[in-house]
């Protein structure tokens, strides 16, 4: 990762390509951006850090014309940028890679890229010319995709390449990437950083928004921190480190997660020689695993090596095709609904939007969405609204969910606050088995630390916890035992203390024998 750091010699001598002066944006009472000033130079990678809701995405939306700033001036290449028009932003050479990809699944890569680049009234799209221009860009920046493939068939990493190519195709010279690594695997992230390095070397300027401090330090020349809508400070990436940045972001020192020794009890969840999943890469093969009460078992590994199947089998959403899955000593594949009703199993899904919440419902409705709570807040089949809302308010209070109250549409919450809502719902019924799949994906430092604290507290309260995570530091900091999944096989879990990062890295790459020999 480190070699991809952008060269930033003579920073001051370079031409300023983008300048924001006094940018302010209010949403009702909330000041999302408060007098923000920013300068971006040619060939520079600028990291933009901040908690969820610190105003990063708002700032970028203003730059790209999705929002109109209430105050302030924006200049691109010395020219004032007309507000509120993505078309003008594109014309000024600004390209945006959105956090939620703006691609149409049913259309081809080429269609997605060509859209909007030709005059509307033209009688014929020049698709052949477009394809050859696209290939040229692909070659120049090492972004390999097939122009005729349908977006729906591509992996997340490939879709991101399409997003970047889309911007480059429109001759972007300033590229804004909004949390580009949140959904990428390690390898995809590294290849993205290589691309960014290449682009900066060729004179493009890049704004890189992320939660992952190490990545920002590795990929950027300069780092800027936002908190509560204001610029808190700016540092050259070489002179700083992750913990100092974390402090700037949160405003106080972030306590390191502390884990007391585990005192494991009886087995709660067991897999015996389990095969699961059909086709594709996401399958399990001959997996053995035991999770006991009062312990956290971490499953590390690169995404797509069987984590999805593991989470589904553990949550009772899929039955093993071979072998046995036992939960509380019973066959786990039998009637998951009745089990959940007793509130004993809790799932924290990896895809919050698809599996965790219903974004059109109000916060309080989501808070009582699971079976256990639905029963608790119903009488004769009628929801007791007042009690349910009071419960939601209690969750908001206890889990520090930032929102306008229990009636807030859940879709308006930030990722971190959605996750807190899910946690609140899960922990309010004191589950005995918790499956947390990528529990802190996309969360900022503060929220992530909070989620880990909750999981540790649940463990100390007697729950068995299975944490599936791509974040190695996370796994090392909270898991008592760690197993690594690679191509559907699970390495035998080992005590966290007995493993080094390097060893886990080797296990993740599938080199189990090397690790065993080293011991």
């Amino acid at each position: 990762m480190s070699e991809s750091g952008a060269p930033f010699v003579n920073e001051a001598a370079r031409e300023v390509v983008l300048r924001v002066a006094g940018g302010t944006k209010r949403f009702g009472d909330l000041v999302a951006n408060d007098d923000i000033s920013l300068e971006l130079r040619r060939g520079e990678v600028l990291g933009l850090l901040g908690e969820n809701g610190a105003g990063k995405t708002t700032l970028m939306s203003i730059l790209f014309g999705h929002y109109v700033a209430d105050e302030g001036r924006i200049e691109a290449f010395g020219e004032p940028l007309p507000p509120g028009s993505p078309r003008a932003a594109i014309a000024a050479g600004i390209g945006m890679v959105h956090q939620h990809f703006t691609l149409a699944d049913n259309l081809s890569v080429l269609d997605n890229i060509v859209l909007g680049s030709e005059p509307m009234w033209r009688l014929r799209s020049d698709l052949r010319g477009a394809a050859s221009r696209l290939r040229e860009h692909s070659r120049r920046f090492g972004l390999d995709v097939h122009p005729d493939a349908l977006i729906g068939e591509l992996s997340v990493g490939e879709r991101q390449r399409v997003e970047i190519l889309k911007a480059l195709y429109r001759s972007a010279r300033i590229l804004i990437l909004d949390e580009p690594t949140a959904v990428l695997t390690l390898q995809e992230t590294e290849s993205l950083f290589r691309t960014l390095g290449q682009m900066a070397a060729q004179g493009l300027s890049i704004i890189f928004i992320s939660h992952k401090l190490d990545e920002v330090i590795a990929a950027c020349g300069r780092v800027m921190v936002l908190r509560a809508g204001r610029v808190i400070g700016e540092r050259p990436a070489t002179g700083t480190n992750a913990s100092r940045l974390a402090e700037m972001i949160v405003g106080h020192e972030v306590p390191a997660t502390r884990r007391s020794a585990a005192t494991p009890g009886e087995p709660v969840f067991e897999l015996r020689g389990v095969n699961a999943g059909t086709g594709g890469r996401d399958r399990l093969h001959d997996v053995d695993l035991t999770v006991r009460a009062r312990e956290i078992v971490g499953v590390a590994g690169v995404a797509g090596n069987g984590q999805g199947s593991l989470a589904r089998v553990a949550g009772g959403h899929a039955a093993p095709t071979r072998g046995q899955a036992l939960l509380f000593g019973e066959d786990a594949s039998r009637s998951s609904a009745s089990r959940d009703a007793r509130g004993r199993v809790a799932r924290i899904p990896d895809d919050r939007h698809a599996l965790g919440i219903v974004s059109d419902l109000a916060l309080w409705e989501n808070a009582i969405l699971d079976t256990a709570n639905r029963r608790r807040f119903a009488r004769f089949g009628i929801i007791r609204r007042r009690e349910a809302k009071a419960f939601a308010e209690e969750l908001i209070e206890r889990f520090d969910i930032r929102c306008r109250g229990p009636d807030t549409p859940t879709g308006l919450l930030s990722g971190g606050n959605m996750q807190k809502l899910i946690l609140g719902r899960v922990f309010s019924v004191r589950p005995r088995f918790i499956i947390a799949n990528q529990p802190t994906r996309g969360l900022d430092v503060g929220a992530a630390a909070y989620v880990r604290k909750c999981l540790l507290e649940a463990r100390d309260g007697g729950a068995a916890v299975l944490v599936i995570s791509e974040d190695l530091d996370e796994t090392l900091s909270i898991a008592d035992r760690i197993a690594v999944v690679h191509r559907g096989r699970l390495s035998p879990p080992r005590a966290a203390e007995s493993l080094t990062r390097r060893e886990i890295g080797l296990l993740m790459a599938g080199q189990w024998d090397t690790v065993r020999d080293a011991r």
Binding site: R87, M96, T102, D111, V114, G116, R170
Partner: protein, 315 residues
């Protein structure tokens, strides 16, 4: 040979099938254009009724036939503009608005027709489009009459299928239209005005529906009566799904329906009279439902169909 099979060998049967399919082609194309842009237009039934009346009345009052078609299209565009205004920038429920437009358009049609012709007890007639024969080709067995001895409006319908397929798949405008129906956020991010594209699509689509209605009064029959459209609009909506939102398949679907319908009419006369004719009337619909089930199981909907788009909101 038995009589039911002989029907299939008569040239007039095939010609009738194409004639029955023609208004469905216009309507289905219109609906398809709307839905590809992400707007379900349930106003179709009413818009077709209005188009039928406006086309006929124009000609009855002295306009020539093509002006009648043009005025019908304009009338459709006006109702389309109303639908578009309510569903696109205002983002109201497309179901409710669509049914509202159907009720409004049909009632206004009946009302104006009564105002125009208060005394008429039997519907007056006009000089409608006549079938034109292509010399030589129309003499071919079976397909000759079906394809080459039709009114100009049928040829217009066939030409529009080609135009629609070309515009949708080969032009920047068609791409923008498909994109706003698949992922409006993506279109917006590329500098496309989602509202403008959607409104244009609904207006153009509604104009096509109205032409489909006008075909009924200006080519298929030569007068206007109230129950004229008779659910053809709803058939078109099913045909769009049947066609998986593709113009070529829409033509196929409309022709298939035309064949069923033409066949059942002839069968009524051919086979025993003791079978109630209502059973025959049902068959095209039953077969349509069956075909729909078979064809649409793997259909890929436009992803943003029926989802209003508001700027600055995440999808």
């Amino acid at each position: 040979m038995s009589e039911p099979l002989e029907i299939l060998l008569t040239a007039s049967f095939w010609a009738a099938a194409v004639r029955i399919a023609t208004p469905l082609v216009f309507g289905t194309l219109g609906e398809l254009v709307c839905e590809r842009a992400g707007v379900l237009n349930l106003g179709i039934e009413g818009i077709m009724t209005a188009g039928a009346m406006v086309g006929w009345t124009s000609v009855y009052m002295g306009a020539d036939l093509w002006t009648g078609v043009l005025l019908a299209a304009t009338c459709g565009a006006v109702f389309g503009a109303l639908h578009a205004l309510l569903t696109v920038p205002l983002g109201l429920s497309q179901h409710v608005v669509g049914l509202g437009v159907t009720l409004l358009a049909s009632s206004l049609t009946y009302f104006s027709y009564r105002l125009l012709l208060p005394g008429a007890s039997t519907p007056p007639t006009i000089e409608a489009f006549q079938p034109m024969s292509v010399p030589g080709l129309s003499e071919l067995p079976l397909v000759g009459e079906a394809l080459f001895s039709q009114t100009p409006m049928t040829w217009l319908a066939l030409a529009l299928i080609l135009v629609a397929a070309y515009v949708l798949n080969r032009t920047p405008m068609g791409l923008a239209l498909r994109m706003v129906g698949e992922n409006p956020q993506a279109a917006e991010a590329q500098g496309i005005s989602v509202n403008a594209v959607r409104m244009t699509a609904v207006i153009v689509g509604s104009a096509l529906m109205a032409i489909g209605g006008a075909f009924l009064t200006l080519a298929a029959f030569n007068s206007f009566f109230f129950t004229m459209v008779q659910g053809r609009g709803w058939v078109c909506i099913a045909l769009v799904v049947f066609a998986s939102w593709r113009p070529g398949k829409a033509l196929f679907g409309a022709l298939l329906y035309g064949l069923f319908d033409a066949y059942q009419v002839r069968l009524q006369h051919a086979v025993a009279k003791e079978i109630p004719y209502q059973l025959f009337l049902m068959t095209p619909y039953l077969l349509s439902i069956l075909a729909l089930i078979l064809m649409s199981r793997r259909a890929t909907y436009p992803q943003a169909l029926m989802k209003p788009y508001r700027r600055g909101e995440r999808g």
